[in-house]
């Protein structure tokens, strides 16, 4: 009896504390880590903004000194005389990218369709790592391949045949015998962006619901008809987005293109002409640019142009892909 009363008295004097499930320090650590992590997530956006501002600030002097229209459409590039016409470079980038896409798109789409619609699972399991491997090869190695294989091939095989048969069309006129040409750059770029385009198209085609295929097959369509009339129309926006992503990869590629495209600052008119893309312009001249007035400003302007185009292309196509596949492009 006494012992019980004593125990009750003690309890009243010193009630047991419920051990908190979440101690204060653990909760504080969680909160601080959350803030820190949140702070880190600002970084990507901040980097984009910082890049745009830094490049714009460095381009500003030349934008002040020359009307922008003259810069974009000017034909002559003579930094020593203060002439900065970007037209040959812009057109050069456009040509190389266009040829690359023309070469890359048909085989890439056919391969993606094959992988999704026809291939056995084991083929897919083998091909996926191969694509990753192809995507991981450094661009300078593609450049070596371009110099050793593609340029001679263009010079010795394509130039005599295409040039002779179709040479009357200005687009295929055999204008430059060296092989270092828009076509060589386009072929190298096509192989470089292929794994990328295939991977994105694969995702898009794979996200088409199977019911659609089954319905088409059930009414007697062949597989190819199913692809043509059911799968492709459904996935067209996503595939276009994938191609745009591939194109923005291609136009930003530097080393491989620089090594095979000839680097002559003239507007090309034939696929056998040499070209001088914007990326090559920047890479080739960075060393001397600080000694000539406005030169660095012009070159960083080229970088700003690339940044602008790529940001535009990428954000548009990423949003489309997000819509189409319900997830983000890998």
């Amino acid at each position: 009896m006494w012992a019980r009363r004593e125990a009750a008295r003690q309890l009243a004097a010193d009630p047991p504390q419920a051990t908190p499930v979440l101690s204060r320090s653990r909760r504080a650590r969680d909160r601080w880590a959350g803030r820190l992590f949140l702070g880190a997530t600002v970084l990507p956006l901040a980097l984009l903004v910082a890049m745009s501002i830094a490049l714009l600030a460095r381009t500003w002097p030349i934008l002040q000194a020359r009307p922008i229209w003259h810069l974009l459409t000017g034909q002559t590039w003579r930094p020593l005389q203060g002439e900065f016409g970007f037209r040959p470079f812009i057109i050069g980038t456009a040509w190389v990218t266009a040829v690359a896409m023309a070469v890359a798109i048909p085989p890439c789409l056919l391969s993606a369709v094959y992988l999704v619609e026809y291939a056995r699972p084991i083929t897919r399991a083998v091909v996926k790592p191969l694509l990753d491997l192809l995507a991981g090869i450094p661009s300078v190695v593609y450049g070596v391949w371009g110099v050793v294989v593609v340029v001679p091939w263009v010079k010795n095989a394509l130039l005599p045949t295409i040039g002779a048969w179709l040479g009357f069309i200005p687009l295929f006129a055999p204008t430059n015998p060296s092989g270092f040409s828009v076509l060589a750059g386009g072929i190298v770029l096509a192989v470089m962006v292929a794994p990328f385009i295939i991977a994105v198209s694969y995702e898009v085609l794979d996200s088409v619901p199977n019911g659609l295929r089954e319905a088409s097959l059930a009414v007697g369509a062949t597989r190819w008809q199913t692809v043509q009339h059911a799968v492709l129309p459904q996935s067209a926006p996503g595939i276009v987005a994938g191609i745009v992503l591939g194109a923005s990869r291609a136009l930003g590629e530097t080393m491989a293109v620089l090594m095979v495209v000839g680097n002559v600052a003239r507007t090309p008119t034939s696929i056998f002409d040499p070209a001088y893309p914007l990326t090559a312009l920047i890479a080739n001249n960075y060393g001397e640019m600080l000694s000539i007035p406005l030169y660095d400003s012009a070159l960083l302007g080229a970088a700003l142009m690339l940044l602008g185009i790529v940001v535009l292309f990428n954000s548009a196509s990423t949003l489309v892909l997000h819509r189409v596949t319900g997830r983000w492009a890998a």
Binding site: T41, M51, L110, Y114, G252, L306
Partner: protein, 283 residues
């Protein structure tokens, strides 16, 4: 045969052809690099820095570029990892499913991923000029870190998303905080994927030339401090191919072979590592 069956056959043939074309290109690239590079690859190439007159065909090797590349890509990957992991963990275990901010961050990362490396190089260069920095190992490492950041975060993000929601819910129900869930559950569960992401970014970093061209410079010596310039393998390939001497060009091919082998080893190594680390995951 009906027209549609002919179409089917033609389509099938075309698909197999284009498939063969791509596989053939890959094979041809690897073959080219091996055939051209192997004859010039000697032990001296791998163990010596360029001697006097190296670029005229005299003795020496590309050890400066090999070590420089490992320093650059290693440092860049370490810095990128430091920045990527918090971002990926935040996206994966702190945000709600339909978080606006996560959407914005992912979009920004995807856009960053597509930005050409030459633009990263130009950006890094302008910043370095503004700070009065010379081309150096440090500059190269920082630019590579920025270049690798989006690749690493997106790759990590992809694997963290694969973690079943129930696993995190179980941890939270047992009283774990979000931080403890992120550090002890999510990272352990996704360890193979995280390792793959790191190695993927490393491979991208070691192969990139356009960004280090401006920022790390090139030198015949092995850098001993972060403020010295550093050589890199891609630039070694590029510069040596650009010389008019066949002996030096041969070495360019050999450097390309070394670079390719390194990149392929990293790629295969990441697969092996992923398989090994998978045992810590709850199946």
């Amino acid at each position: 045969m009906k027209k549609r069956h002919v179409e089917e056959a033609v389509a099938r043939i075309l698909m197999l052809l284009s498939f063969g074309l791509l596989a053939g290109s890959l094979g041809l690239i690897l073959l080219t690099v091996v055939v051209k590079g192997a004859p010039a690859l000697t032990l001296a190439m791998l163990t010596q820095v360029p001697q006097g007159g190296y670029y005229l065909g005299k003795g020496g090797g590309i050890l400066n570029a090999i070590v420089g590349s490992l320093y650059l890509a290693g440092g860049g990957t370490a810095v990128a990892l430091l920045l990527s992991l918090p971002i990926a963990l935040y996206l994966g275990s702190y945000t709600r499913r339909r978080s606006r901010w996560a959407l914005v961050v992912r979009l920004a990362l995807d856009v960053l991923w597509g930005i050409p490396s030459i633009v990263y190089g130009a950006f890094g260069f302008t910043i370095m000029i503004a700070l009065g920095m010379r081309a150096s190992l440090l500059g190269g490492i920082l630019v590579l870190a920025l270049l690798e950041l989006p690749i690493m975060v997106r790759a990590m993000d992809e694997v963290i998303r694969m973690v079943p929601a129930a696993l995190g819910q179980a941890a939270l129900a047992l009283g774990a905080t979000r931080l403890e869930n992120a550090l002890h559950i999510v990272t352990r569960q996704t360890l193979p994927g995280l390792a793959t992401a790191v190695l993927l970014a490393f491979g991208r970093g070691i192969g990139d030339a356009a960004s280090v061209l401006f920022t790390a410079g090139y030198t015949d010596r092995i850098p001993t401090s972060l403020l010295q310039p550093a050589a890199s393998l891609p630039l070694a390939v590029f510069f040596q191919l650009g010389t008019p001497f066949p002996e030096v060009q041969q070495r360019g091919y050999a450097a390309a072979l070394v670079l390719t082998v390194l990149v392929l080893a990293v790629s295969l190594g990441s697969r092996w590592l992923a398989a090994r680390l998978g045992r810590y995951a709850v199946k």
